[in-house]
Amino acid sequence: MNNNRLIRMIHLAMYEQVDGKEDIAISKYFRRDYIAFGLFKNIVLVTIAFFILLGFIALYNLEFLATNFSNINFQPLILGIVIAYLLVVGIFSVIVFVIRGLRYEKAAQRANIYDKKLYELEKIYILERKAKRNGKVKRK
C-alpha cells in the first residue's frame, strides 16, 4: 500500500466529506444561478419583514389613524410606502448580492484546488498501474 497515496486520499476525503461539503454543493451551480436564487429568497423574506414592520407602525399609530382616517391623503402615503419598500429591498439585495458573490468565489476556489488534487491522485494511480504492468513493483 502506497502510504503517500493513502495520506493524500485521506486529506481529499476529509475535504469531500467534512470540510468542503458546502463548497462542492455551491460550486455545482452557475455563479449567476446561485446569486439569483439568493436574491429571490431575499426579496420574499424582505417583503414579509416590510409588511410586519408596516403592521407594527400601523398598530402603534392606530388611534391617530382611526380618528383622522377621512382626512388622510392616501396618494403620498402609498407613494412613500412603495418608495420605502423599494429602498429596503434594494439595500438588502445589494448586501445579499455581495455576500453570495464572495461566498461563491471562495467556494469555487477551494473546489478548484480539490479538483486539481483529485487529478493529481488520478495521475498517481496511472503511474502505479504503469509500474505494475512494467513489472517494476512487486505486489504483495
Binding site: N3, N4, M9, E16, I48, I52, Y60, K106, I124
Partner: protein, 378 residues
C-alpha cells in the same frame, strides 16, 4: 501558567479524541440550562413548565447544530408569550421573525448570544456578551449584539405586560402599544445597542491588530470601554444606572472573558473525523485525530482558511529504484519517505473484514469521481 497550559493541552487532546461523546453532552447541558432558565424566568405557559419536556428538548438539541438549539429556544420563548395572551404571542413571533429576516440570517453562527443576553442582563454581567462576541466573532457580530439587546429588553418587558393583561382596565391595543413603546421609546435600550456595537467593533479590531497578548488586551479594553460608554451614555441621555453594579459586572465579565480567551486562544477543537472511501483494491474506514497544537503564543492565525494539501513531486509519488552495482557487498541507499509529521494526523486504517474473496468493486471509485457541474463562468 505552565501547569494551566498543560492542563488545557490535556483537555484539548481528550476532546479531540472523544468529541463524538463530549460534543452531544455539552450541547445537551447547554440546551437544558437555557430551557430551564427560560422556564424559570418566562414560564407563562403552564403546560411547558415541565422538566420532562425540557429534558426531551435538550436531548433533541444534543443532536442538532447550535443554531438548532437557538431556534428551539426562540420558539420556546414565543410559546411562553402565548401563555400571557394571544396578542403578545403574535407580537413576539412577528418580532423574532423580523429580527431573523433583517439580521440573524446574516450572522447565524453568533445567534446563541441572543438567547444568553437576557440572562446576562438579569445577573448584571451584560458586558460579557459584546466582549465575547468581539473576541470570538467578526465585526459583523455587532449586528448580533444589537439583536441580543433588543431581545433582552423585549423579554424584560414581559413581567409588566403579564400584569397588564391580568388587569381588565387595559385593552389589547394598549398592551401592544406598551410592548412597542418598550422597544422603540426605550432610551436605555438604544444606549445599550450603541454601546454593545461599539464594544464588539473595538474588541474585534484590537484582537486582530495586536499580535502580542491581543486576546487579553482586547478583553480588558473591551470591558473598560463598556464601563466608560455606559457612564457617558447615561449622563447624556439622562438615564439612571447603578455605576457600582456596572463596574462589578464588568470585572466579573472580564474574568469570564479571560477564561474564554485562555481556552479558545490558539487551540484547535476540530475533533476526530470518521471517513469512508474506496478504490479498486480496498475499502477504507479511517479515523482522523488531529494533534493538539496548544501553545500560549500569538503566532497562530485562526483566520487562515487556506486549504493546504501536501503537494508531492513525482519522485515522492513513485520513488525511483536505485541502480544496483555489480558489487554485491554494497547496498543501495533507499530514498527517504516524506516526513509524516507534516500531515499532522494519526491515521488508523482498517481494511475490509477478512475474506479470501476479493470484494466486487464497481468501476467508479468515490475518491476519483470528478465533481459534476464544476462551472466556471466568466
Amino acid at each position: 501558567m505552565k501547569t494551566l497550559t498543560e492542563l488545557r493541552a490535556r483537555i484539548i487532546r481528550f476532546y479531540n479524541s472523544a468529541d463524538i461523546y463530549i460534543l452531544p453532552a455539552i450541547k445537551f447541558i447547554t440546551a437544558f440550562l437555557l430551557l430551564f432558565a427560560i422556564n424559570n424566568n418566562y414560564g407563562y405557559m403552564e403546560s411547558l413548565n415541565n422538566i420532562f419536556i425540557v429534558v426531551i428538548l435538550s436531548v433533541v438539541c444534543a443532536f442538532l447544530p447550535l443554531t438548532g438549539t437557538v431556534a428551539i429556544s426562540l420558539i420556546y420563548i414565543v410559546i411562553h408569550c402565548f401563555g400571557i395572551s394571544v396578542e403578545v404571542g403574535l407580537f413576539a413571533a412577528c418580532l423574532y421573525l423580523l429580527l431573523f429576516i433583517l439580521v440573524i440570517r446574516f450572522v447565524v453562527k453568533d445567534s446563541i448570544a441572543i438567547i444568553i443576553a437576557p440572562f446576562a442582563f438579569k445577573y448584571y454581567v451584560p458586558s460579557v456578551i459584546p466582549v465575547s462576541l468581539g473576541m470570538l466573532g467578526k465585526i459583523s457580530s455587532a449586528l448580533t449584539a444589537v439583536t441580543a439587546v433588543v431581545s433582552a429588553y423585549f423579554l424584560k418587558e414581559l413581567p409588566s405586560i403579564a400584569v397588564m393583561t391580568q388587569n381588565e382596565d387595559f385593552s389589547n391595543l394598549e398592551i401592544l402599544n406598551a410592548l412597542i413603546d418598550g422597544i422603540v421609546n426605550n432610551a436605555e435600550m438604544i444606549m445599550n445597542c450603541i454601546v454593545f456595537a461599539a464594544v464588539v467593533i473595538i474588541v474585534c479590531l484590537i484582537r486582530k491588530l495586536c499580535t502580542t497578548y491581543g486576546w487579553m488586551i482586547s478583553a480588558i479594553v473591551g470591558n473598560g470601554i463598556y464601563i466608560l460608554l455606559s457612564i457617558v451614555g447615561s449622563f447624556f441621555l439622562d438615564i439612571e444606572i447603578n455605576i457600582l453594579f456596572v463596574i462589578i459586572g464588568a470585572v466579573i465579565s472580564l474574568f469570564i472573558n479571560l477564561v474564554i480567551a485562555f481556552f479558545k486562544f490558539n487551540a484547535v477543537y476540530s475533533g476526530s473525523r470518521y471517513l469512508q472511501f474506496e478504490d479498486d483494491d480496498y475499502y477504507y474506514y479511517v479515523k482522523v485525530i488531529p494533534k493538539a497544537k496548544a501553545s500560549f503564543t500569538d503566532e497562530y492565525d485562526e483566520d487562515d482558511d487556506s486549504e493546504e494539501l501536501y503537494f508531492m513531486s513525482e519522485d515522492e509519488i513513485m520513488p525511483e529504484r536505485p541502480a544496483y552495482s555489480r558489487n554485491l557487498n554494497s547496498r543501495p541507499v533507499q530514498n527517504q519517505n516524506p516526513d509524516p509529521q507534516k500531515f499532522n494526523t494519526r491515521v488508523n486504517v482498517s481494511d475490509m473484514p477478512t475474506s479470501s474473496v476479493k470484494p466486487q468493486v464497481s468501476g467508479d471509485t468515490r475518491i476519483l469521481n470528478k465533481p459534476s457541474g464544476q462551472n466556471n463562468e466568466k
